[in-house]
Protein backbone atom coordinates (compact mmCIF):
# COMPACT_ATOMS: atom_id res chain seq x y z
CA UNK A 1 0.00 0.00 0.00
CA UNK A 2 1.37 3.39 -1.00
CA UNK A 3 1.96 6.29 1.33
CA UNK A 4 -1.03 8.24 0.04
CA UNK A 5 -3.35 5.30 0.65
CA UNK A 6 -1.98 4.94 4.17
CA UNK A 7 -2.74 8.58 4.94
CA UNK A 8 -6.18 8.25 3.34
CA UNK A 9 -6.82 5.06 5.33
CA UNK A 10 -5.95 6.82 8.57
CA UNK A 11 -8.33 9.66 7.71
CA UNK A 12 -11.06 7.16 6.82
CA UNK A 13 -10.64 5.33 10.14
CA UNK A 14 -10.85 8.69 11.91
CA UNK A 15 -14.22 9.31 10.25
CA UNK A 16 -15.71 5.82 10.50
CA UNK A 17 -14.40 4.89 13.95
CA UNK A 18 -13.15 8.09 15.54
CA UNK A 19 -16.31 10.10 14.95
CA UNK A 20 -18.73 7.56 16.51
CA UNK A 21 -16.26 6.84 19.30
CA UNK A 22 -15.85 10.54 19.98
CA UNK A 23 -19.62 10.98 20.16
CA UNK A 24 -19.93 8.02 22.54
CA UNK A 25 -17.17 9.26 24.83
CA UNK A 26 -18.50 12.83 24.83
CA UNK A 27 -22.03 11.71 25.68
CA UNK A 28 -20.74 9.36 28.40
CA UNK A 29 -18.87 12.28 29.92
CA UNK A 30 -21.89 14.52 29.68
CA UNK A 31 -24.11 11.91 31.27
CA UNK A 32 -21.61 11.23 34.04
CA UNK A 33 -21.35 14.93 34.71
CA UNK A 34 -25.12 15.25 34.79
CA UNK A 35 -25.60 12.26 37.07
CA UNK A 36 -22.74 12.49 39.52
CA UNK A 37 -21.52 16.06 39.64
CA UNK A 38 -24.50 16.73 41.82
CA UNK A 39 -27.41 14.71 43.06
CA UNK A 40 -29.18 14.28 39.77
CA UNK A 41 -31.52 11.62 38.43
CA UNK A 42 -32.34 11.61 34.76
CA UNK A 43 -35.83 10.48 33.70
CA UNK A 44 -36.65 9.89 30.03
CA UNK A 45 -40.27 9.91 28.93
CA UNK A 46 -41.43 7.80 26.00
CA UNK A 47 -44.99 6.94 24.97
CA UNK A 48 -46.09 3.87 26.91
CA UNK A 49 -45.78 1.62 23.84
CA UNK A 50 -42.08 2.57 23.62
CA UNK A 51 -41.24 2.09 27.28
CA UNK A 52 -42.92 4.86 29.27
CA UNK A 53 -40.76 6.32 32.06
CA UNK A 54 -37.08 5.26 32.04
CA UNK A 55 -35.04 6.28 35.11
CA UNK A 56 -31.23 6.67 34.94
CA UNK A 57 -29.13 7.41 38.00
CA UNK A 58 -30.40 5.19 40.77
CA UNK A 59 -32.61 6.18 43.66
CA UNK A 60 -33.34 9.25 45.77
CA UNK A 61 -31.85 9.36 49.24
CA UNK A 62 -34.13 10.38 52.06
CA UNK A 63 -33.39 13.87 53.36
CA UNK A 64 -31.04 14.74 50.46
CA UNK A 65 -32.07 17.31 47.85
CA UNK A 66 -32.00 15.87 44.33
CA UNK A 67 -32.44 17.41 40.91
CA UNK A 68 -34.68 15.47 38.56
CA UNK A 69 -33.82 16.06 34.92
CA UNK A 70 -36.85 15.10 32.82
CA UNK A 71 -36.62 14.63 29.05
CA UNK A 72 -39.48 13.99 26.62
CA UNK A 73 -38.05 11.71 23.93
CA UNK A 74 -40.90 11.55 21.45
CA UNK A 75 -44.01 13.65 22.04
CA UNK A 76 -45.17 16.17 24.63
CA UNK A 77 -45.65 14.54 28.02
CA UNK A 78 -46.66 15.85 31.41
CA UNK A 79 -45.46 14.55 34.77
CA UNK A 80 -46.73 14.38 38.29
CA UNK A 81 -44.89 12.54 41.07
CA UNK A 82 -47.11 11.71 43.99
CA UNK A 83 -46.03 12.69 47.48
CA UNK A 84 -43.16 14.76 46.05
CA UNK A 85 -45.83 16.97 44.55
CA UNK A 86 -43.89 18.12 41.49
CA UNK A 87 -45.51 18.59 38.13
CA UNK A 88 -44.79 20.10 34.72
CA UNK A 89 -45.02 19.76 30.94
CA UNK A 90 -42.19 18.15 28.99
CA UNK A 91 -41.60 19.36 25.44
CA UNK A 92 -39.23 17.29 23.27
CA UNK A 93 -35.85 18.94 22.95
CA UNK A 94 -36.33 21.00 26.10
CA UNK A 95 -35.23 19.04 29.19
CA UNK A 96 -36.73 20.27 32.46
CA UNK A 97 -35.07 20.22 35.87
CA UNK A 98 -36.93 20.18 39.20
CA UNK A 99 -35.67 19.89 42.76
CA UNK A 100 -37.18 17.28 45.08
CA UNK A 101 -36.66 16.13 48.65
CA UNK A 102 -37.88 12.68 49.66
CA UNK A 103 -38.91 12.51 53.33
CA UNK A 104 -39.47 8.76 53.58
CA UNK A 105 -38.11 5.68 51.78
CA UNK A 106 -40.26 3.74 49.32
CA UNK A 107 -41.70 4.01 45.82
CA UNK A 108 -42.93 7.31 44.45
CA UNK A 109 -45.32 6.87 41.51
CA UNK A 110 -44.98 9.04 38.39
CA UNK A 111 -47.88 9.73 36.06
CA UNK A 112 -48.11 11.33 32.64
CA UNK A 113 -50.52 14.26 32.76
CA UNK A 114 -50.80 15.02 29.05
CA UNK A 115 -52.74 12.75 26.73
CA UNK A 116 -49.70 11.52 24.84
CA UNK A 117 -50.98 8.55 22.89
CA UNK A 118 -53.08 5.38 23.02
CA UNK A 119 -51.15 4.12 26.07
CA UNK A 120 -51.33 7.35 28.02
CA UNK A 121 -53.47 5.86 30.78
CA UNK A 122 -50.88 3.19 31.54
CA UNK A 123 -47.86 5.49 31.41
CA UNK A 124 -46.97 5.03 35.04
CA UNK A 125 -43.47 4.75 36.50
CA UNK A 126 -41.72 4.48 39.84
CA UNK A 127 -38.97 6.45 41.48
CA UNK A 128 -37.36 4.75 44.46
CA UNK A 129 -36.12 6.47 47.60
CA UNK A 130 -33.77 4.78 50.05
CA UNK A 131 -32.57 5.74 53.50
CA UNK A 132 -29.60 8.09 53.38
Amino acid sequence: MGRQNLVAGALLVAVLVGLPAGIYVYEAGQRHQRLYAEEVIEIHAYVAEAGGWVVHGGALRVGVAFTLRLIAEDVVHGFFIERLNVTGTLVPGHPMEVSVLATEPGSYTMYCTVSCGPGHNVMVGRLEAVAA
Binding site: G2, Q4, N5, A8, L12, L16, Q30, E73, P92, G93
Partner: protein, 468 residues
Protein backbone atom coordinates in the same frame (compact mmCIF):
# COMPACT_ATOMS: atom_id res chain seq x y z
CA UNK B 1 -43.38 33.51 -44.50
CA UNK B 2 -39.77 32.71 -43.68
CA UNK B 3 -38.28 29.26 -43.61
CA UNK B 4 -36.25 28.45 -40.55
CA UNK B 5 -33.45 25.96 -40.30
CA UNK B 6 -32.12 25.58 -36.83
CA UNK B 7 -28.93 23.69 -36.03
CA UNK B 8 -29.17 20.49 -33.98
CA UNK B 9 -26.99 21.91 -31.24
CA UNK B 10 -26.95 25.61 -30.46
CA UNK B 11 -23.58 27.30 -30.13
CA UNK B 12 -23.24 29.44 -27.03
CA UNK B 13 -20.59 31.55 -25.38
CA UNK B 14 -18.51 29.97 -22.63
CA UNK B 15 -15.81 31.12 -20.24
CA UNK B 16 -13.25 28.81 -18.66
CA UNK B 17 -12.92 28.84 -14.88
CA UNK B 18 -9.70 26.84 -14.87
CA UNK B 19 -6.59 28.84 -14.12
CA UNK B 20 -3.29 26.94 -14.47
CA UNK B 21 -3.08 26.80 -10.67
CA UNK B 22 -6.61 25.48 -10.26
CA UNK B 23 -6.00 22.90 -12.99
CA UNK B 24 -2.89 21.67 -11.13
CA UNK B 25 -4.91 21.45 -7.94
CA UNK B 26 -7.75 19.52 -9.58
CA UNK B 27 -5.28 17.07 -11.12
CA UNK B 28 -4.25 15.97 -7.65
CA UNK B 29 -5.65 12.60 -6.66
CA UNK B 30 -6.68 14.12 -3.34
CA UNK B 31 -9.34 16.13 -5.21
CA UNK B 32 -12.20 15.38 -4.87
CA UNK B 33 -11.25 12.56 -2.44
CA UNK B 34 -10.84 14.85 0.55
CA UNK B 35 -14.27 16.37 -0.09
CA UNK B 36 -15.80 12.90 -0.32
CA UNK B 37 -14.30 12.18 3.10
CA UNK B 38 -15.82 15.39 4.49
CA UNK B 39 -19.26 14.55 3.13
CA UNK B 40 -18.85 10.99 4.42
CA UNK B 41 -18.24 12.42 7.90
CA UNK B 42 -21.45 14.41 7.53
CA UNK B 43 -23.39 11.33 6.44
CA UNK B 44 -21.97 9.23 9.30
CA UNK B 45 -23.22 11.89 11.70
CA UNK B 46 -26.60 11.95 9.95
CA UNK B 47 -26.95 8.16 10.18
CA UNK B 48 -25.93 8.10 13.85
CA UNK B 49 -28.26 10.92 14.80
CA UNK B 50 -31.05 9.38 12.73
CA UNK B 51 -30.69 5.98 14.37
CA UNK B 52 -29.86 7.01 17.94
CA UNK B 53 -31.03 10.59 18.37
CA UNK B 54 -34.35 12.00 19.50
CA UNK B 55 -37.41 10.98 17.50
CA UNK B 56 -38.55 14.59 17.38
CA UNK B 57 -37.84 15.58 13.78
CA UNK B 58 -37.10 19.26 14.22
CA UNK B 59 -34.70 18.48 17.10
CA UNK B 60 -32.77 15.85 15.15
CA UNK B 61 -29.74 16.68 13.01
CA UNK B 62 -30.61 13.95 10.48
CA UNK B 63 -34.00 15.41 9.55
CA UNK B 64 -32.91 19.04 9.59
CA UNK B 65 -29.67 18.57 7.68
CA UNK B 66 -30.85 16.05 5.10
CA UNK B 67 -34.30 17.37 4.24
CA UNK B 68 -33.73 21.08 4.73
CA UNK B 69 -30.03 21.95 4.38
CA UNK B 70 -28.85 19.23 1.98
CA UNK B 71 -31.97 19.30 -0.14
CA UNK B 72 -31.89 23.10 -0.43
CA UNK B 73 -28.17 23.11 -1.24
CA UNK B 74 -28.65 20.48 -3.94
CA UNK B 75 -31.65 21.88 -5.73
CA UNK B 76 -31.22 25.61 -5.24
CA UNK B 77 -27.44 26.08 -5.33
CA UNK B 78 -25.35 23.14 -6.50
CA UNK B 79 -27.40 21.92 -9.46
CA UNK B 80 -28.18 25.32 -11.03
CA UNK B 81 -24.72 26.75 -10.47
CA UNK B 82 -22.36 23.76 -10.38
CA UNK B 83 -24.05 20.95 -12.28
CA UNK B 84 -23.48 17.50 -10.73
CA UNK B 85 -20.81 18.76 -8.34
CA UNK B 86 -22.56 16.89 -5.53
CA UNK B 87 -21.93 13.62 -7.42
CA UNK B 88 -18.21 14.48 -7.38
CA UNK B 89 -18.16 14.53 -3.57
CA UNK B 90 -21.01 12.13 -2.80
CA UNK B 91 -20.08 9.51 -0.20
CA UNK B 92 -22.80 7.01 -1.20
CA UNK B 93 -20.80 5.12 -3.87
CA UNK B 94 -17.42 5.71 -2.21
CA UNK B 95 -17.16 2.41 -0.33
CA UNK B 96 -18.01 0.39 -3.42
CA UNK B 97 -15.65 2.35 -5.62
CA UNK B 98 -12.75 2.01 -3.18
CA UNK B 99 -13.29 -1.74 -3.00
CA UNK B 100 -13.64 -2.00 -6.77
CA UNK B 101 -10.36 -0.14 -7.26
CA UNK B 102 -8.59 -1.78 -4.33
CA UNK B 103 -7.37 1.69 -3.45
CA UNK B 104 -8.52 4.79 -1.64
CA UNK B 105 -6.64 7.57 -3.37
CA UNK B 106 -3.89 6.20 -5.55
CA UNK B 107 -4.43 4.94 -9.05
CA UNK B 108 -4.22 1.14 -9.49
CA UNK B 109 -4.44 -0.70 -12.75
CA UNK B 110 -5.94 -3.85 -11.30
CA UNK B 111 -9.60 -3.72 -10.34
CA UNK B 112 -11.50 -6.05 -8.02
CA UNK B 113 -14.85 -7.69 -8.52
CA UNK B 114 -16.55 -9.26 -11.51
CA UNK B 115 -16.26 -6.14 -13.66
CA UNK B 116 -19.42 -7.00 -15.63
CA UNK B 117 -21.17 -4.65 -17.97
CA UNK B 118 -24.47 -3.18 -16.82
CA UNK B 119 -27.38 -5.00 -18.58
CA UNK B 120 -28.20 -3.26 -21.85
CA UNK B 121 -31.95 -3.40 -21.13
CA UNK B 122 -31.40 -1.33 -17.99
CA UNK B 123 -29.18 1.17 -19.76
CA UNK B 124 -31.58 4.05 -19.04
CA UNK B 125 -33.25 5.90 -16.17
CA UNK B 126 -36.17 3.52 -15.61
CA UNK B 127 -34.59 1.88 -12.56
CA UNK B 128 -33.89 5.35 -11.17
CA UNK B 129 -37.45 6.45 -11.91
CA UNK B 130 -39.06 3.51 -10.13
CA UNK B 131 -36.72 3.71 -7.13
CA UNK B 132 -37.25 7.45 -6.86
CA UNK B 133 -41.01 7.06 -7.02
CA UNK B 134 -40.85 4.31 -4.39
CA UNK B 135 -38.91 6.55 -2.02
CA UNK B 136 -41.01 9.62 -2.87
CA UNK B 137 -44.20 7.69 -2.10
CA UNK B 138 -43.10 7.33 1.51
CA UNK B 139 -41.54 10.78 1.77
CA UNK B 140 -44.08 12.13 4.31
CA UNK B 141 -42.77 9.42 6.64
CA UNK B 142 -39.12 9.50 5.56
CA UNK B 143 -38.77 13.26 5.90
CA UNK B 144 -40.22 13.38 9.40
CA UNK B 145 -38.97 10.17 11.04
CA UNK B 146 -35.25 10.25 11.94
CA UNK B 147 -34.98 6.45 12.18
CA UNK B 148 -36.36 6.00 8.66
CA UNK B 149 -34.04 8.70 7.31
CA UNK B 150 -31.08 7.03 9.03
CA UNK B 151 -31.92 3.59 7.64
CA UNK B 152 -32.55 5.02 4.16
CA UNK B 153 -29.13 6.67 4.01
CA UNK B 154 -27.47 3.60 5.48
CA UNK B 155 -29.14 1.50 2.78
CA UNK B 156 -28.03 3.93 0.08
CA UNK B 157 -24.45 3.54 1.32
CA UNK B 158 -24.60 -0.26 1.43
CA UNK B 159 -26.37 -1.01 -1.88
CA UNK B 160 -23.58 0.45 -4.08
CA UNK B 161 -21.01 -1.94 -2.56
CA UNK B 162 -22.28 -5.21 -4.11
CA UNK B 163 -23.14 -3.35 -7.31
CA UNK B 164 -19.56 -2.06 -7.57
CA UNK B 165 -18.23 -5.58 -7.03
CA UNK B 166 -20.47 -7.04 -9.73
CA UNK B 167 -20.59 -4.30 -12.36
CA UNK B 168 -17.82 -2.13 -13.72
CA UNK B 169 -17.30 1.51 -12.89
CA UNK B 170 -20.06 3.63 -11.36
CA UNK B 171 -23.09 1.60 -12.47
CA UNK B 172 -24.91 2.61 -9.28
CA UNK B 173 -24.48 6.33 -9.90
CA UNK B 174 -25.44 6.19 -13.52
CA UNK B 175 -28.28 3.69 -13.52
CA UNK B 176 -29.58 3.22 -9.98
CA UNK B 177 -29.07 6.23 -7.69
CA UNK B 178 -32.45 7.89 -7.04
CA UNK B 179 -30.72 11.18 -6.21
CA UNK B 180 -28.43 11.15 -9.23
CA UNK B 181 -31.38 10.79 -11.58
CA UNK B 182 -32.84 14.21 -10.97
CA UNK B 183 -29.44 15.81 -10.42
CA UNK B 184 -28.43 14.70 -13.91
CA UNK B 185 -31.67 15.81 -15.52
CA UNK B 186 -31.64 19.23 -13.88
CA UNK B 187 -27.91 19.70 -14.50
CA UNK B 188 -28.80 20.14 -18.15
CA UNK B 189 -29.93 23.57 -17.05
CA UNK B 190 -26.75 24.30 -15.11
CA UNK B 191 -24.40 27.25 -15.46
CA UNK B 192 -21.31 25.00 -15.42
CA UNK B 193 -20.08 22.35 -17.81
CA UNK B 194 -17.08 20.07 -18.23
CA UNK B 195 -16.19 19.54 -21.87
CA UNK B 196 -13.35 18.83 -24.26
CA UNK B 197 -12.04 22.17 -25.52
CA UNK B 198 -10.99 21.34 -29.07
CA UNK B 199 -12.65 18.33 -30.61
CA UNK B 200 -9.88 18.18 -33.23
CA UNK B 201 -7.25 17.70 -30.53
CA UNK B 202 -9.17 14.68 -29.24
CA UNK B 203 -9.72 13.31 -32.73
CA UNK B 204 -6.02 13.38 -33.56
CA UNK B 205 -4.90 12.03 -30.21
CA UNK B 206 -4.82 8.25 -30.30
CA UNK B 207 -3.98 7.63 -26.63
CA UNK B 208 -7.56 8.23 -25.45
CA UNK B 209 -6.47 8.11 -21.80
CA UNK B 210 -9.84 9.56 -20.80
CA UNK B 211 -11.55 6.26 -21.62
CA UNK B 212 -8.60 3.92 -21.13
CA UNK B 213 -7.06 5.39 -17.99
CA UNK B 214 -3.40 6.22 -17.36
CA UNK B 215 -1.01 6.44 -14.44
CA UNK B 216 -2.63 9.77 -13.63
CA UNK B 217 -6.14 8.43 -13.20
CA UNK B 218 -8.95 6.10 -14.15
CA UNK B 219 -10.96 5.72 -17.33
CA UNK B 220 -14.19 7.73 -17.06
CA UNK B 221 -16.11 6.03 -14.22
CA UNK B 222 -19.37 7.38 -15.67
CA UNK B 223 -18.86 5.52 -18.96
CA UNK B 224 -18.83 8.78 -20.92
CA UNK B 225 -16.53 9.67 -23.81
CA UNK B 226 -15.31 13.21 -23.08
CA UNK B 227 -14.47 13.80 -26.73
CA UNK B 228 -18.15 13.66 -27.63
CA UNK B 229 -19.62 14.68 -24.29
CA UNK B 230 -22.36 17.16 -25.15
CA UNK B 231 -24.60 17.31 -22.10
CA UNK B 232 -24.21 17.46 -18.33
CA UNK B 233 -26.76 14.69 -17.72
CA UNK B 234 -24.30 11.87 -17.11
CA UNK B 235 -21.07 13.69 -16.26
CA UNK B 236 -20.46 13.34 -12.51
CA UNK B 237 -17.57 15.87 -12.48
CA UNK B 238 -15.30 13.25 -10.92
CA UNK B 239 -12.39 14.98 -12.73
CA UNK B 240 -10.69 11.73 -13.83
CA UNK B 241 -10.61 12.92 -17.47
CA UNK B 242 -9.06 16.20 -16.37
CA UNK B 243 -6.34 14.22 -14.59
CA UNK B 244 -5.65 11.75 -17.40
CA UNK B 245 -5.78 14.05 -20.46
CA UNK B 246 -2.12 14.65 -21.47
CA UNK B 247 -3.22 17.42 -23.85
CA UNK B 248 -4.91 19.44 -21.10
CA UNK B 249 -7.90 19.57 -23.43
CA UNK B 250 -10.54 19.13 -20.74
CA UNK B 251 -12.02 22.36 -19.51
CA UNK B 252 -14.54 23.45 -16.89
CA UNK B 253 -16.43 26.50 -18.01
CA UNK B 254 -19.37 28.77 -17.42
CA UNK B 255 -22.12 29.00 -20.01
CA UNK B 256 -25.67 30.33 -20.35
CA UNK B 257 -28.30 28.60 -18.22
CA UNK B 258 -30.25 25.89 -20.01
CA UNK B 259 -27.61 25.30 -22.66
CA UNK B 260 -28.14 21.53 -22.80
CA UNK B 261 -31.91 21.53 -23.01
CA UNK B 262 -32.12 21.52 -26.78
CA UNK B 263 -29.25 19.18 -27.54
CA UNK B 264 -29.73 15.84 -29.19
CA UNK B 265 -28.02 12.85 -27.65
CA UNK B 266 -28.39 9.13 -28.03
CA UNK B 267 -28.84 8.73 -24.25
CA UNK B 268 -31.68 11.29 -24.21
CA UNK B 269 -34.52 8.78 -24.22
CA UNK B 270 -38.06 8.20 -23.00
CA UNK B 271 -36.90 7.38 -19.47
CA UNK B 272 -35.37 10.87 -19.24
CA UNK B 273 -38.60 12.43 -20.54
CA UNK B 274 -40.56 10.51 -17.91
CA UNK B 275 -38.07 11.67 -15.28
CA UNK B 276 -38.79 15.28 -16.22
CA UNK B 277 -42.57 14.75 -16.02
CA UNK B 278 -42.31 12.78 -12.76
CA UNK B 279 -40.30 15.58 -11.15
CA UNK B 280 -42.78 18.20 -12.33
CA UNK B 281 -45.74 16.22 -11.00
CA UNK B 282 -44.00 15.50 -7.70
CA UNK B 283 -43.31 19.19 -7.11
CA UNK B 284 -47.08 19.72 -7.23
CA UNK B 285 -47.88 16.65 -5.12
CA UNK B 286 -45.40 17.66 -2.41
CA UNK B 287 -46.81 21.17 -2.32
CA UNK B 288 -50.25 19.73 -1.74
CA UNK B 289 -49.34 16.93 0.68
CA UNK B 290 -46.37 18.32 2.62
CA UNK B 291 -46.99 22.07 2.65
CA UNK B 292 -50.69 22.28 1.85
CA UNK B 293 -53.57 22.69 4.30
CA UNK B 294 -55.07 19.31 3.40
CA UNK B 295 -54.52 17.31 6.59
CA UNK B 296 -56.52 14.35 5.35
CA UNK B 297 -54.04 13.86 2.50
CA UNK B 298 -51.20 13.65 5.02
CA UNK B 299 -53.22 11.00 6.84
CA UNK B 300 -53.64 9.07 3.59
CA UNK B 301 -49.91 9.28 2.86
CA UNK B 302 -48.79 8.21 6.33
CA UNK B 303 -51.14 5.22 6.88
CA UNK B 304 -53.02 7.13 9.59
CA UNK B 305 -56.23 6.86 7.58
CA UNK B 306 -55.79 3.12 7.04
CA UNK B 307 -54.41 0.89 4.31
CA UNK B 308 -57.28 1.52 1.90
CA UNK B 309 -56.63 5.26 1.84
CA UNK B 310 -52.89 4.70 1.52
CA UNK B 311 -53.51 2.46 -1.48
CA UNK B 312 -55.75 5.13 -2.99
CA UNK B 313 -52.99 7.69 -2.42
CA UNK B 314 -50.46 5.29 -3.99
CA UNK B 315 -52.69 4.82 -7.02
CA UNK B 316 -53.13 8.56 -7.52
CA UNK B 317 -49.45 9.29 -6.85
CA UNK B 318 -47.93 6.59 -9.05
CA UNK B 319 -50.70 6.64 -11.65
CA UNK B 320 -50.39 10.40 -12.02
CA UNK B 321 -46.62 10.28 -12.35
CA UNK B 322 -46.29 7.30 -14.67
CA UNK B 323 -49.52 7.41 -16.67
CA UNK B 324 -51.81 10.44 -16.42
CA UNK B 325 -49.35 13.32 -16.79
CA UNK B 326 -47.19 11.61 -19.46
CA UNK B 327 -50.33 10.54 -21.40
CA UNK B 328 -51.71 14.07 -21.29
CA UNK B 329 -48.36 15.42 -22.42
CA UNK B 330 -48.25 12.85 -25.23
CA UNK B 331 -51.69 13.94 -26.44
CA UNK B 332 -50.63 17.58 -26.41
CA UNK B 333 -47.44 16.70 -28.28
CA UNK B 334 -49.53 14.95 -30.93
CA UNK B 335 -51.79 17.99 -31.16
CA UNK B 336 -48.67 20.13 -31.48
CA UNK B 337 -47.35 18.21 -34.48
CA UNK B 338 -50.78 18.30 -36.13
CA UNK B 339 -51.08 22.06 -35.62
CA UNK B 340 -47.52 22.49 -36.86
CA UNK B 341 -48.40 20.73 -40.11
CA UNK B 342 -46.12 17.74 -39.57
CA UNK B 343 -48.39 14.92 -38.33
CA UNK B 344 -45.85 12.42 -39.67
CA UNK B 345 -43.04 13.77 -37.43
CA UNK B 346 -41.73 11.32 -34.84
CA UNK B 347 -44.05 11.56 -31.84
CA UNK B 348 -41.42 9.90 -29.69
CA UNK B 349 -38.73 12.43 -30.58
CA UNK B 350 -41.06 15.40 -30.07
CA UNK B 351 -42.32 14.00 -26.78
CA UNK B 352 -38.80 13.50 -25.42
CA UNK B 353 -37.54 16.90 -26.56
CA UNK B 354 -40.57 18.76 -25.23
CA UNK B 355 -40.54 16.91 -21.90
CA UNK B 356 -36.86 17.75 -21.33
CA UNK B 357 -37.67 21.39 -22.14
CA UNK B 358 -39.85 21.35 -19.00
CA UNK B 359 -36.69 21.04 -16.87
CA UNK B 360 -36.46 24.77 -15.96
CA UNK B 361 -40.09 24.91 -14.85
CA UNK B 362 -39.67 21.81 -12.70
CA UNK B 363 -36.34 22.96 -11.29
CA UNK B 364 -37.61 26.43 -10.33
CA UNK B 365 -40.78 24.97 -8.81
CA UNK B 366 -38.56 22.76 -6.65
CA UNK B 367 -36.39 25.74 -5.73
CA UNK B 368 -39.52 27.66 -4.72
CA UNK B 369 -40.64 24.69 -2.63
CA UNK B 370 -37.20 24.45 -0.98
CA UNK B 371 -37.00 28.18 -0.26
CA UNK B 372 -40.16 27.80 1.82
CA UNK B 373 -38.54 24.99 3.81
CA UNK B 374 -35.44 27.06 4.51
CA UNK B 375 -37.14 30.37 5.26
CA UNK B 376 -39.45 28.76 7.77
CA UNK B 377 -37.14 26.23 9.38
CA UNK B 378 -33.69 27.80 9.28
CA UNK B 379 -33.51 28.33 13.06
CA UNK B 380 -33.61 24.56 13.58
CA UNK B 381 -30.27 24.33 11.75
CA UNK B 382 -28.49 26.15 14.57
CA UNK B 383 -30.36 24.30 17.31
CA UNK B 384 -29.59 20.85 15.86
CA UNK B 385 -25.99 21.75 15.00
CA UNK B 386 -25.53 22.52 18.69
CA UNK B 387 -27.39 19.45 19.91
CA UNK B 388 -27.46 16.98 16.98
CA UNK B 389 -28.93 14.04 18.91
CA UNK B 390 -31.36 16.03 21.05
CA UNK B 391 -29.55 14.69 24.12
CA UNK B 392 -29.15 18.05 25.81
CA UNK B 393 -25.75 19.02 24.38
CA UNK B 394 -25.01 22.61 23.55
CA UNK B 395 -21.82 22.50 21.46
CA UNK B 396 -22.25 25.90 19.82
CA UNK B 397 -24.36 27.64 22.44
CA UNK B 398 -27.28 27.83 19.99
CA UNK B 399 -29.39 24.96 21.27
CA UNK B 400 -32.01 27.20 22.81
CA UNK B 401 -32.35 29.37 19.72
CA UNK B 402 -36.03 30.19 19.35
CA UNK B 403 -37.93 29.29 16.21
CA UNK B 404 -37.97 32.33 14.00
CA UNK B 405 -38.82 32.32 10.27
CA UNK B 406 -36.93 34.71 7.98
CA UNK B 407 -39.19 37.39 6.50
CA UNK B 408 -42.08 34.99 5.85
CA UNK B 409 -44.12 37.82 4.31
CA UNK B 410 -41.69 37.86 1.35
CA UNK B 411 -42.07 34.15 0.62
CA UNK B 412 -44.99 34.32 -1.84
CA UNK B 413 -43.25 37.01 -3.92
CA UNK B 414 -40.02 35.02 -4.04
CA UNK B 415 -41.92 31.89 -5.06
CA UNK B 416 -43.91 33.72 -7.74
CA UNK B 417 -40.72 35.18 -9.20
CA UNK B 418 -38.96 31.80 -9.19
CA UNK B 419 -41.80 29.95 -10.91
CA UNK B 420 -42.16 32.68 -13.54
CA UNK B 421 -38.42 32.51 -14.28
CA UNK B 422 -38.78 28.74 -14.78
CA UNK B 423 -41.78 29.31 -17.05
CA UNK B 424 -39.88 31.84 -19.16
CA UNK B 425 -36.96 29.47 -19.69
CA UNK B 426 -39.27 26.56 -20.49
CA UNK B 427 -41.40 28.47 -22.99
CA UNK B 428 -38.25 29.81 -24.64
CA UNK B 429 -36.88 26.28 -24.94
CA UNK B 430 -40.19 24.96 -26.29
CA UNK B 431 -40.27 27.77 -28.84
CA UNK B 432 -36.75 27.05 -30.04
CA UNK B 433 -37.63 23.37 -30.31
CA UNK B 434 -40.68 24.24 -32.38
CA UNK B 435 -38.52 26.33 -34.70
CA UNK B 436 -36.27 23.33 -35.12
CA UNK B 437 -38.98 20.76 -35.68
CA UNK B 438 -41.39 22.70 -37.89
CA UNK B 439 -40.96 24.24 -41.32
CA UNK B 440 -41.95 27.87 -40.84
CA UNK B 441 -42.20 30.37 -38.05
CA UNK B 442 -45.97 30.34 -38.37
CA UNK B 443 -46.12 26.54 -38.11
CA UNK B 444 -43.72 26.65 -35.17
CA UNK B 445 -45.90 29.21 -33.41
CA UNK B 446 -48.99 27.05 -33.91
CA UNK B 447 -47.16 23.95 -32.70
CA UNK B 448 -46.02 25.83 -29.62
CA UNK B 449 -49.56 26.56 -28.45
CA UNK B 450 -50.46 23.20 -26.79
CA UNK B 451 -46.99 22.78 -25.25
CA UNK B 452 -46.95 26.33 -23.89
CA UNK B 453 -50.50 25.82 -22.62
CA UNK B 454 -49.31 22.82 -20.62
CA UNK B 455 -46.48 24.91 -19.12
CA UNK B 456 -48.85 27.78 -18.30
CA UNK B 457 -51.39 25.49 -16.63
CA UNK B 458 -48.62 23.83 -14.60
CA UNK B 459 -47.36 27.29 -13.60
CA UNK B 460 -50.84 28.48 -12.65
CA UNK B 461 -51.23 25.35 -10.51
CA UNK B 462 -47.93 26.01 -8.75
CA UNK B 463 -48.82 29.65 -8.15
CA UNK B 464 -52.21 28.66 -6.77
CA UNK B 465 -50.53 26.24 -4.39
CA UNK B 466 -47.77 28.66 -3.39
CA UNK B 467 -49.86 31.77 -2.96
CA UNK B 468 -53.28 30.29 -2.28
Amino acid sequence: MSTVSAPAAQAYPTRSVLTPRLRRLLRSRWVPWIFILASLAGFVLVILTGLFGTMTGNQNFAIVFVWIVWWFALIAILVPLMSRSWCAICPLPAGGEWLQRGSLVEHKTRTWGLNRKWPRRLNNLWTVNFLFLGIALFSPIITTNPRVTGFLLLGLMIVPIPLALIYSKRAFCRYVCPVGGFLGLYSNFSWLELRANEKAVCQHHLGKECIKGSVEGYACPWMEFPQTLGRNAYCGLCLECLKTCPKENIDIRLRPFGADLLKDAKDKDASEAWKSLIMLELAGVYLVVLLGPYGYLKDWATFRAGLDHFLLYTGLFVGGALLFVPFLFLLLTHLSRVLGGRPQASLRRLFIDNAVALVPLGLFAWIAFSVALLQVNWSYIFATASDPFGWGWDLLGTKAMAWQPILPQTLPYIQIALVLIGLAYTVTALHRLSLRHFETRRAAAKALVPMAAFAFVATATFLRLFVG
